[in-house]
Amino acid sequence: MNKNFGILLSNLEIVPGRKINKHLGLVQGSTVRAKHIGRDFMAGLKNVVGGELKGYTELLQESREEAVERMVQQAKAIGANAVLNVRFSTSSITQGAAELFAYGTAVVLE
């Protein structure tokens, strides 16, 4: 999660040693991703022997980063410099597609 444009992300409600000057409300970002057919095929094979599905782990990680990036862009657009109390949520929508969702409170730190 490097592309956060200098916005501080935290899932605490405060930032140690910094004062919150202004609350700007909820910001959110989401993305719906489907599995790649090649990855799906490999995962099908892996389902026989069990173990980690590395392709999926990476896919979900990338998707979550994208959701965070969208949230950060929203925060940036309304003039925030930090997003606090960040939460993640994942839901599988149909077979093969999942929604990754990130949300938090945009604030201005002094």
Partner: protein
């Protein structure tokens, strides 16, 4: 008749492969988990939302860890039979346990790379991602995230 035989052979082979490799993989994974947990024990997970007051405030950063783990064929079959009689679903217990502990470890490893000493307010989430035939769970994603506290450099050091 031949078809039935062939199907039984395929089923038996998958079951055997699933059992042997699944057990091996699980044992290897648990060994790795225990080793890394011992190594990362000094990095504390604190389940409170408010860190204490610091005279020298640390930096904070969100850290995450995730993993997708799939069950093996043997476990799917055993779980299918277990669901007829009810009770404890042992095949899935180890699956979710591994997913969660691995996710926590990856989060901790990220925090350690950043030089953090503590992680506050960690949250865990577990999602079943893929439903196979008859809606059986085939893989789960474990996610762990929290705020890493990275100590500020002592003035003068």
């Amino acid at each position: 008749m031949n078809d039935l035989k062939l199907n039984l052979v395929i089923f038996g082979t998958l079951l055997l492969i699933g059992f042997v490799f699944g057990q091996l993989a699980e044992r290897r994974h648990y060994r790795a988990i225990r080793e890394r947990e011992a190594k990362l024990r000094s990095l504390l997970l604190v389940q409170t939302r408010f860190p204490p007051m610091f005279t020298n405030p640390p930096r904070t950063q969100l850290v995450t860890g995730n993993v997708v783990i799939s069950v093996d064929y043997f476990k799917v079959v055993v779980a299918g039979l277990k669901s007829l009689v009810g009770g404890r679903m042992t095949p899935y217990e180890s699956l979710v346990d591994r997913a969660r502990r691995e996710a926590i470890l990856r989060m901790k490893e990220q925090a350690r790379r950043l030089g953090a000493t503590m992680i506050f307010n960690s949250k865990f989430e577990l999602v079943s991602l893929y439903k196979g035939a008859q809606n059986t769970v085939q893989s789960v994603e474990g996610l762990a995230y929290g705020t890493a506290l990275i100590p500020a450099r002592q003035p003068g050091s």
